[in-house]
Symmetry: C2
Subunit: 403 residues, 2 copies
């Protein structure tokens, strides 16, 4: 098999752990696999460099930041290559440039545009283990760029896609994707298999493991993604296309998102295009609106409720207040003490009653549901934040996820 | 003026010192100069990375070492660029690649082959201060290479040459080149001006400041080189071509080299080509032979004395022993307790009696001279190591270098 393995910062956090990674890679190579390894910077290294830059400037030039931050992964990649060679393997270390990763010009949050895997392929053909510095590429001018948060995962998935690898293994300190957050529900079980779409909906469960952009790219490039831990031999979770999952469970997991705030608009002027105007203004300001509920009041005006990430709340308030001042909105209020609980599963497509069970579970626990939104594979409910853990545990039990 | 400034590891050893460098660069820019800055890695950083590599392997692959070690200078260059921009300057950081430095393929000790300064020139034309990661280039395959010891100085000199800069300032923690080692003779004086050739002969005096390869390149490219300290505003020493030095002093300095060993060959077979065979064999083994003295014995054989760096002594012994075993040499002996004292000055060319004064000074002090070698601008004497300091101080006084 051709396997792309990606090791995150904690997995290469010190020299012993880099040796541990070398041992893992070596074992996989000896099983007869072709291996490409993508590495992050040693944990703490990137933060240290960011701290250095911030010592000099609150807003350092982003091209300089890329030259600065891309150095961490180069260190890890060359050290791992050295360790593998010492173990008797042929190995070669490559920068993002050498690996053929070309990005757009957005320094510090570049998007991968193309990958020319020919140098990697040549090195593999010569029996090398190829070790690649993650998180980085070059733009059309040949300047180093970095890919932003989760960038090394993205490097790994993109390379796996370009090489048509059989597997892309993402190694972290977490052993996989769980049915819910084990800190809330200790009975949470690790999933063996999950579809891309479920993973995207369960983002909060995988937040420590995988960024959505990596899952989206894996889906687009049809890369079989495995998240597992580098600290034991425990099997991880395979994220793959739905067709590969023979018998999907009704519900795969319960996600919790505490990072939401609710904005309520009362007495919105009911003229056509009013809602569109409000939400277009929010979109232009890059405020990420999630759930929206609209209902008509009896006085010819409308009430609109919507949620935004807490980080966007300040910006959203400013915009909404503007509409209130001009009289287009009667009044607006905010609530940060909410959370969003989601029940996710591709099995919902073919089964009814999943949403009904969620609502009745909430009712049994006397939890009031403020907002509801559903998709083909998800039921999301906004509730009072104080009920967050209770809701997650009740739903986890109701769908028998601990079985 | 167009000035290339190079700051070594101690000058950029921590964040405060990098800010100090930014202040110096800023001041020079404000005086109306165009500035290109070449930086080393923060002191200790390169050794740390070498230590990391040696944790994994005694002989790490040299291409990997280059990818590893070149990261240190990238960090310093981007941080300095950020600091300069924060001070209101236009600045841009460049890797060796971007600066157009192309080397041969000798990883970890590459030689600069060409420099295409067009990216630097473009950035200067747009009023930028250009900050370049020293010590590194790329080979014809585009792989990162490093230039070995003193590599950042070499980067600076080569860039100054390619840009036809007015000045190349090398900043270290030493304020310049002295008439002799101030630890031996506290009356040693800093030189304002010295020729390339003198500097090359005085290598031991500049050992902490400049590698000979940098001086040689400065001479070849006709670069005016200044060594000075980044820790004060003290003027440094200008190293330039002899024609620029109006009135050269008779003697510029006294150099001491303790790192020499003497090999004495007694009863060397006097057949033609014998000496050539011995020294060719030594040369092939990269033993660096310095002084050679040969004289005929009365029995038809020859005696040959020569010196080698202490580091090469072991290799030299093996080779010489080989000749002794075959009978080509009667006997060989070694002496590590010697040193070489040199009197250097371009003024010797036009003045007689410089060598005679050196010999008589030794005689007055009862110091026996074992070997003598002279060049147009230098008189070197091999003496017993225990007289090293006495010889230096006596010669320093005899040529009135403290005046």
């Amino acid at each position: 098999m051709l396997i792309v393995q990606k090791y995150g910062g904690t997995s290469v956090g010190d020299l012993e752990r880099i040796q541990n990674v070398a041992n893992r890679v070596s074992a996989s190579k000896k099983e007869g696999n072709d291996i490409v390894v993508v590495v992050s910077a040693m944990s703490g290294e990137t933060n240290k460099l960011v701290g250095f830059a911030e010592h000099f400037s609150k807003e350092p030039a982003r091209a300089d930041m890329d030259m600065l931050l891309s150095s961490g992964e180069r260190v890890t990649a060359s050290l791992l290559s050295i360790a593998l060679q010492e173990m008797g393997h042929k190995a070669v270390a490559m920068t993002g440039r050498k690996a053929g990763i070309v990005t757009d010009k957005q320094h510090t949050k570049a998007r991968i545009e193309t990958i020319d895997p020919s140098m990697i392929q040549n090195a593999l053909n010569e029996e090398n283990i190829v070790v690649i510095a993650g998180f980085q590429g070059v733009n059309e001018h040949g300047d180093v760029t970095t890919l932003g948060r989760g960038g090394s995962d993205l490097s790994a998935v993109a390379i796996a896609g370009a090489l048509k690898a059989d597997l892309c293994e993402i190694y972290t300190d977490v052993s996989g994707i769980f049915t819910t957050d084990p800190r809330i529900e200790p009975k949470a079980k690790k999933l063996n298999l999950i579809s891309y779409d479920e993973m995207l909906e369960l983002a909060s469960l995988g937040a420590k493991v995988l960024q959505n952009r990596s899952v989206e790219m894996a889906k687009k490039l049809n890369v079989n993604l495995v998240t597992r831990t580098s600290f034991s031999n425990e099997e991880g979770t395979l994220i793959t296309k739905e067709e590969n999952i023979m018998e999907a469970p009704l519900v795969s997991g319960i996600a919790l998102d505490r990072n939401q705030a609710r904005i309520s608009l009362v007495g919105v002027n009911d003229r056509p295009g009013m809602a569109s105007e409000i939400f277009n203004t929010l979109a232009k300001a890059e405020v990420n609106v999630d759930m929206i509920i609209q209902n008509e009041a009896h006085d010819g005006t409308t009430n609109i409720d919507f949620t935004v990430p807490v980080n966007d709340l300040h910006e959203a308030k400013l915009i909404v207040d503007g509409f209130t001042k001009t009289g287009d909105i009667g009044a607006d209020t905010y609530d940060e003490n909410i959370c969003k609980v989601s029940v996710v599963g591709v099995g919902m497509r073919s089964h009814t009653g999943v949403a009904a069970k969620a609502f009745s579970t909430m009712a049994v626990e006397n939890i009031n549901i403020n907002m509801i939104s559903t998709s083909e594979i998800k039921v999301s409910m906004v509730i009072d934040e104080k009920y967050a853990e209770l809701a997650v545990r009740s739903l986890h039990a109701a769908y028998e996820l601990d079985k």
